[in-house]
């Protein structure tokens, strides 16, 4: 009798496993791609169409409200690609340096505040306040301190991005389920091992959303700073070209630059953060399919 039940139980176990493993029923790859690419493309096209219709209605004279075709012509004119190319390169370089330093500083700050209750009580509210303060507000102060120099621009970018990154990491650390820490301790993870193998991976989703928001803020702050702090000594930048467009009443160029700024901000998000977030959520089972 007993040996009979043994066999039954082990095959029973295999049967249960087979029933409980869900067969992946994902859509075909191309359908997924079409499903995620098509809607934003349609959105963009409809916006362009609307723009064109408004222009065609001639509510404003053409030099004040150029159509999409005019803007495209302006951007592809013989002299603009060079100017804009240099400006984009200059701004992206600054963004990379400013955002890169923000990551380093924000991460250290977030780790310190996440680990120490006292530090968090003391400086947490200040950091939240700083996060809601538009960092452009610092531009006049920084110009007086540093003059119109790269330091001014970097300072504004840092003030924009660091709080978001630090707060994201701090929140991520805060939300780590205590049971993971208990498991880590029981597995023998102490000190640095505990941070490396348990705390940081567990806090990663919060950290990544902080990084994402930090990027948005640093790009925004950079554009604002470039638009206000203008000097030939700074070298080319997108904000500078926008200022040029405004001063020469070149609305086609102004619209073109606005679109370029938008595309870069969105593009970086699509290339880096969107896949990273998707992967994080998928591996942890936080999304459907």
């Amino acid at each position: 009798m007993a040996s009979d039940t043994d066999v039954e139980l082990s095959t029973l176990g295999a049967g249960l496993d087979a029933l409980e493993i869900q067969s992946p029923q994902g859509k075909a790859r191309w359908r997924k791609v079409v499903g995620s690419v098509l809607p934003p493309v349609i959105g963009l096209l409809s916006l362009l169409l609307l723009w064109d219709l408004v222009v065609a209605a001639q509510l404003k004279p053409g030099y004040l409200l150029p159509g999409p075709g005019d803007v495209w012509d302006e951007l592809t004119q013989d002299w603009t690609p060079d100017l804009i190319g240099q400006a984009i390169w200059g701004s992206i370089r600054r963004a990379a340096i400013g955002y890169g330093s923000s990551i380093v500083i924000g991460t250290l700050l977030g780790l310190a505040l996440g680990q120490s209750k006292l530090l968090r009580k003391t400086y947490g509210p200040l950091l939240s306040g700083l996060q809601s303060l538009p960092s452009v507000a610092w531009v006049p102060v920084m110009i007086i301190w540093f003059g119109i120099t790269p330091s001014t621009i970097y300072a504004v970018v840092l003030l924009g991005a660091v709080p978001s990154i630090a707060i994201g990491l701090m929140d991520g650390l805060d939300r780590v389920p205590p049971i993971y820490l208990s498991v880590g301790r029981n597995l023998g993870a102490r000190g640095l091992d505990s941070i490396r193998f348990v705390l940081l991976p567990a806090a990663l989703p919060g950290y990544v959303s902080g990084l994402k928001q930090g990027w948005a803020f640093s790009w925004r702050s950079l554009m604002a700073a470039e638009l206000i702090a203008i000097s030939p000594a700074l070298g080319p930048g997108i904000g500078q070209v926008l200022d040029l467009a405004s001063n020469t009443l070149n609305m086609k160029l102004a619209f073109g630059i606005i679109i370029v700024i938008l595309l870069i901000g969105v593009g970086i998000n699509l290339i880096f953060f969107a896949p990273l977030e998707r992967r994080l959520l998928r591996t942890r089972g936080l999304t459907r399919s």
């Binding site: 139980l9 029973l12 496993d17 493993i21 208990s182 301790r185 597995l187 023998g188 193998f197 089972g285």
Partner: protein, 263 residues
């Protein structure tokens, strides 16, 4: 390795080491409540390779007791020692790390236990096979059923090379059929590995089904009320008459304990 292979020499090792866990006069108060202690004067010795079930209603400090043995918490008074070395702890939820695959969860435990890199993968595969999950190395935690997760968690606990395995209601969240299967598997793993198990549960039949000894704890204060030797041969089934009879006796006593609180 010693905890897992169960070869002749290992048996000799465990014979020398007669005590796996030893608690003497252990009490635990939590700072916030000034009332009855959670645990009060617990004396408990678990022999090497023994399977002990701790039974009690909620609030009897079962989980606290395991945390003390695991070293995750400190006793207010009394002595806790684990002569067998480290104690591996397994929770009610699997508490597997969701950012790692099933196999990587086990590998991390091996790594933290100091197993050299080259040995980790083969050892992981062996442990997965032991819990009948060969081929599940790359599975994500959320892709596994509740029962499978607990089996991976069991493999992870075994990876710690501890001579004592502490289990905190590990099957409480599972359905009855899955639980029956896991009872069977745990019993056979225990027999294969010779590891001592302290198994906490509020399910009397489960305690009788699994343990060599069942210890009943009272609630607030948590004290040892009584213990039973379970002289029923393995393999047992939860439906077996002797299991049911003893479970009934223990349940009656448990009910008396709980009723005291209503008066």
């Amino acid at each position: 390795m010693t905890a897992l292979t169960g070869s002749g020499t290992d048996k000799a090792d465990t014979a020398v080491l007669t005590e796996a866990v030893r608690l003497v006069g252990v009490s635990k108060h939590f700072a916030k409540d000034q009332g009855a202690p959670v645990l009060d004067g617990i004396d408990l010795t678990v022999a090497a390779g023994e399977f002990v079930c701790l039974l009690g209603a909620s609030g009897c400090g079962k989980s606290t007791l395991l945390n003390l043995i695991a070293g995750l918490d400190q006793a207010s008074s009394g002595q806790v020692s684990v002569p067998a070395g480290r104690a591996a702890l397994m929770f009610q939820e699997s508490a597997l790390f969701p950012w790692l695959s099933a196999g990587r969860n086990i590998e991390l435990a091996l790594r933290l236990a100091g197993v050299p890199r080259a040995e980790r993968r083969p050892e992981t595969d062996r442990l997965l096979e032991l819990v009948r999950l060969d081929g599940a190395y790359n599975k994500r935690v959320h892709e596994l059923s509740g029962g499978m997760r607990q089996r991976v968690a069991l493999a992870r606990a075994l990876a710690q090379k501890a001579q004592v395995l502490l289990m905190d209601e590990p099957f409480a969240a599972l359905d009855a059929i899955t639980r029956d299967v896991l009872h069977e598997e745990l019993t056979s793993l225990w027999q294969k590995t010779g590891v001592a198990i302290v198994f906490v549960t509020h399910n009397v039949r489960e305690a009788v089904r699994l343990g060599q000894r069942v210890i009943l704890l009272s609630s607030r204060p948590g004290r040892i009320v009584r213990e039973w030797q379970v002289a029923i041969d393995q393999p047992r089934r939860i439906e077996d008459q002797p299991v049911a009879d003893l479970a009934r006796e223990i349940t009656d006593q448990l009910h008396r304990e709980i009723s005291r609180h209503g008066k």
